[in-house]
Amino acid sequence: MTRRFVVRRLLQVVPTVLGIVTLTFVLVHAAPGDPALDFAGEGADQAQIDAARTYLGLDRPLPSQYATYAANLLTGDLGTSFTQRRPVRTVIADRLPATLLLTGSALALSTAAGLALGVWAGRRARGAAAGTVNVAAVLSYSLPGFWLAQLAVLLVALRLGWLPATGLNDARAGYTGTAAVVDTARHLVLPALVLAVSEVALLFRVTRAGLLGERGREYVRTALAKGASDREVVRRHALPNALLPVVTVVGSRVGFLVSGAVLVETVFNWPGVGRLLVEAGQAGDHPVILGMVLLVALAVVVTNLVTDLVYAWVDPRIRHR
């Protein structure tokens, strides 16, 4: 990968990030209410409200506030939560591991299953089984995630009693060590599967379409004519080329996974940033809401950047354009 490509790509990120920072700053100041009053509390007197205003830097000119806001972001300072009176980054950091666990698991599951099914279906362009899988994929992609989540809870947890209905762990048990890992894994199964279902469909279809497209190419026919087995041709030749769009799709879905996790986390009461967003919305905690907005936006930007770099590494034609 050329250094020039990397530098060019990195430079493209800068104006995007600046735009995001500016937008969140505008949203912070456009939000209703007086942040100083919110921070100081309902029973605060004027002196305390003024002190809060100074502490938050709200008594300075707007350009100065913007510069401070941008500078604070560079150090990871996202402001202070009104309701919890703790740094927003700490509040988010408390919840982020749970969401990363959930979305990471869903991503891994959906990628593995999507690829496997896509390759299987790509090798069998026609046939009842392949068609059925295709229809099932369309269905799973169409069904709303929160509806699937409710159904999963009702059937698997409440009716069958196979898995827990809510939470990340058993609140009573106080498990530690391996037992805690197992407990978390049991709680993770349902929400991760629900989140993965719609993602499987997309990856399946992209993989299948890519593979079918590659199998129609001359080099594949040549390889087959030279006596290579179908499996070998798919594995060594067609599949690597078919995976390029899959890389793009996987990268682009990260942001959607975080936002989609809001509903799944609410249904399963999963203690991640998605549920935090709902709680902050209910409590009117604007710094947390905007911190989340910024975080998700930056995550999407970074993910797209990584995707582009990976794509360029896989396909040399990209970095030499």
């Binding site: 509390g41 029973g43 309701t83 009176r85 749970a98 809510t166 762990n169 058993d170 935090l276 409590a283």
Partner: protein, 700 residues
């Protein structure tokens, strides 16, 4: 056509169905099969379950009848011997989800004592369930499904927030305990002061409280004992309650409170020997009758003196700031603070106070609070056993939970932040742009639309409060019959409130200058316009903005919106945050609002703050949210607080209610009881108070 199709197929050499048609048929059959399977499955289980539930109810009824007569629960043999259980009532052994009835019949045909059913209906005081005698089930962690997420406020003395009280009230005590009916008994005060024991003197202007001794704060250690004493009481009232608690500060004026310097020199505290216990004398400037109703843990939780946290911003003039007061975590209650964000982010935990002054209590080792943003998730958690207790059973699920013997429910008028709550629509009586100063100083409503009492009356007539209750709360609660909650002393339920009547509403609006040509405003058709209105130009549409401060009112507001549209009123709804509402109230930039006001155990506690003109807020707290000012109403409250005779006092409150029904600063919608739900193997809950788990225990 079919024949042609057949010839066509025969002509092409192909017969039968296509693959797509087969797949569609298979899918449809699969869906139908699924519906049938899911419908049929469990029929047998349901039958057995129904029989179990019937037997469980029979046993429960027998137990409650025995308890009503003898004041205790009995084993099954005793029930049978005493005639509370008939022979041959039960039909066989049955086990379901941890609740087991092992049945047997003795030679006489009566059920024998081989029962092992557990039930804890409505907080029955027999830990371990009815039908079993013996020791209390000690230990364990009670997992509570909370309705609200936690925040920085852990001190229930500085807040009336329902979430704060639901989470943390178990860490504190008040001076006087109140039962569900509001009857007092000693708590941190060793004796309830009365006229007879000399605790109440000067016609109800002076209260002397003798404090309990040897009550230790949570931070007390063997090396450095820290006892609750009189100085703590004085400090708590001076620095926290009279400044920050929305209801308790209603007594501030009568107590001669200096709010600028947070001093109450009329509270005289004398510590006991060794700074342990002592006496506290409250000298009101005039008789203050409801005082004993404002001393429980919800209204007057005790903090240690000088318990100022390091939170920012700091206080001034020796007064802790809101933030500093909010962060206090030390009390004398049955449980003490342990942690937050453990075992999961957002969780909270309190643990048993081993030095709790009520000997033998609490039974539980810990309470773990887990917030649920969605009602359905909270209910699922209870049903699935993820939690043991929920503060709010979602209204649509109350009946189903009540019918399930594995669970108990208990309705109470007490919400987390206070008892006897009522949904009230607020009419802003002052014009937009008015500063609070002008609201406090003015007397006449000058809101261009709502300043006319006939418009307010029309709005009241237009709202179908039965629909509001049924749609908004699934019928849980009752339509208000008076400006005061019917559960509170002095409620005059015979003063008629405006009844639902579209024709009356239309007639009133016609007469109020809103009989101009109808127009469409936004998505609302047929909106009235002004014609001959005293202040607004002809053709002005009748648009009344509703400010929604909390998402829990969404369904209820939809009812109001539809009802008002039916009489030609356009009602755009603005959703706003509570904190933004603070600023809005300061500028009075709203038309309608809605608050669930806790009325308290006495009208002076929670009702006065809604109507007395000295409660019109200067900081945006929605006390007297309407900006209402009626000197006669002020006088009723000022006199009632000093009136010892209950008949005379009730008459004063009746007069106030008649006046506000005439003036209509609010539209009283519904009284809102709350339903708690819990595992039937957990008992001893006192659901009307935040000390709900003080004597609770869970078997298994």
């Amino acid at each position: 056509m079919i024949d042609r199709m057949g010839r066509l197929r025969r002509g092409t050499g192909q017969g039968g169905f296509t693959l797509i048609e087969l797949l569609v048929v298979i899918v449809i059959l699969g869906i139908l099969a699924g519906v049938v399977v899911f419908s049929v499955s469990g029929v047998t289980d349901k039958g057995e379950s129904a029989a179990f539930q019937t037997d469980a109810r029979t046993l429960r009824t027998a137990q409650e009848a025995y308890f009503a007569k003898f004041g205790e629960y009995a084993d099954v043999q005793t029930l049978a011997d005493e005639g509370f259980l008939a022979g041959g009532t039960f039909t066989g052994n049955r086990t379901e989800k941890g609740n087991t009835i092992v049945l047997g019949t003795g030679p006489s045909g009566k059920p024998n004592s081989a029962y092992t059913i557990t039930c804890g209906e409505n907080g029955s005081p027999v830990p371990g369930g009815c039908g079993t005698a013996g020791t209390v089930a000690r230990g364990g962690t009670l997992v509570v499904g909370e309705t609200f997420a936690s925040n920085a406020t852990t001190n229930v003395a500085s807040s009336t927030g329902g979430g704060t009280h639901a989470w943390w009230e178990t860490m504190y005590n008040g001076l006087i305990e109140l039962d569900e009916a509001g009857n007092p008994s000693p708590e941190l005060a060793a004796v309830v002061p009365t006229v007879g024991n000399g605790g109440i003197t000067n016609g109800g202007a002076t209260y002397t409280l003798t404090l309990r001794q040897n009550v230790e704060w949570h931070d007390s250690t063997t090396a450095s004992p820290h006892f609750f004493n009189a100085e703590d009481v004085k400090w708590t009232f001076e620095k926290v309650l009279l400044r920050l608690h929305a209801r308790t500060r209603g007594m501030a004026a009568t107590l001669g409170y200096d709010s600028a310097n947070c001093r109450a020199d009329n509270i005289v505290a004398t510590n006991g020997a060794g700074s342990n216990g002592g006496t506290v004398v409250f000298n009101f400037n005039s008789p203050y009758i409801p005082f004993l109703k404002q001393l429980n843990v919800t209204e007057a939780a005790m903090n240690p003196a000088n318990s100022v946290s390091g939170a920012f911003p700091v206080g001034t003039n020796g007064c802790p700031s809101q933030a500093q007061a909010d962060a206090v975590k030390v009390g004398t209650g049955p449980f003490k603070f342990d942690s937050i964000n453990s075992p999961s982010a957002g969780d909270g935990k309190v643990v048993r106070n081993p030095k709790y002054w009520k000997s033998g209590l609490p039974y539980l080792d810990a309470i773990l609070m887990r917030p649920f943003t969605a009602d359905a998730a909270r209910y699922n958690a209870l049903v699935n056993g993820d939690v043991d207790f929920v503060w709010d059973v979602p209204n649509p699920n109350v009946a189903a939970l009540d019918a399930n013997p594995a669970f108990g429910i208990a309705a109470t008028q007490s919400l987390g932040g206070g008892p006897n709550s009522v949904d009230q629509v607020i009419f802003n009586l002052k014009a937009s742009g008015s500063t609070v100063a002008s609201v406090a100083n003015g007397t006449a409503p000058d809101h261009p639309v709502l300043g006319n009492v006939n418009v307010r009356r029309a709005i009241f007539h237009a709202i179908n409060r039965d629909d509001y209750l049924n749609i908004g709360r699934n019928g849980i609660g009752n339509v208000s019959r008076s400006p005061i909650s019917s559960q509170v002393f002095g409620a005059a339920t015979d003063i008629p409130l405006p009844a639902f009547s579209v024709s009356t509403a239309n007639s009133l609006l016609d007469g109020a200058g809103w009989n101009g040509p109808r127009v469409t405003v936004g998505s609302t058709p047929n909106v009235r316009t002004a014609l001959g209105h005293p202040t607004l130009a002809d053709g002005t549409p009748l648009t009344i903005r509703f400010l929604q401060g909390s998402g829990i009112f969404t369904d209820r507001l939809a009812v109001i919106k539809a009802n008002l549209a039916a009489v030609g009123i356009d009602m755009p709804i603005t959703v706003n945050t509570t904190n933004a509402n603070t600023q809005v109230f300061t500028n009075r930039d709203f038309d309608l609002y809605i608050i669930n006001y806790a009325n308290g155990y006495d009208p002076h506690v929670g009702v006065r703050r809604q109507y007395h003109s000295d409660q019109i807020s200067t900081t945006g707290t929605p006390n007297n949210a309407a900006g209402y000012r009626n000197p006669a109403v002020d006088a009723d409250f000022d006199q009632a607080v000093q009136t010892l005779d209950t008949t005379a006092r009730a008459a004063l409150y009746r007069d106030f209610q008649q006046r506000v029904v005439n003036d209509l600063p609010y539209a009283w919608m519904i009284e809102t009881p709350n339903v708690r739900g819990f595992r039937a193997t957990c008992t001893g809950f006192r659901v009307w108070t935040g000390l709900f788990a003080e004597s609770a225990s869970c078997a298994g």
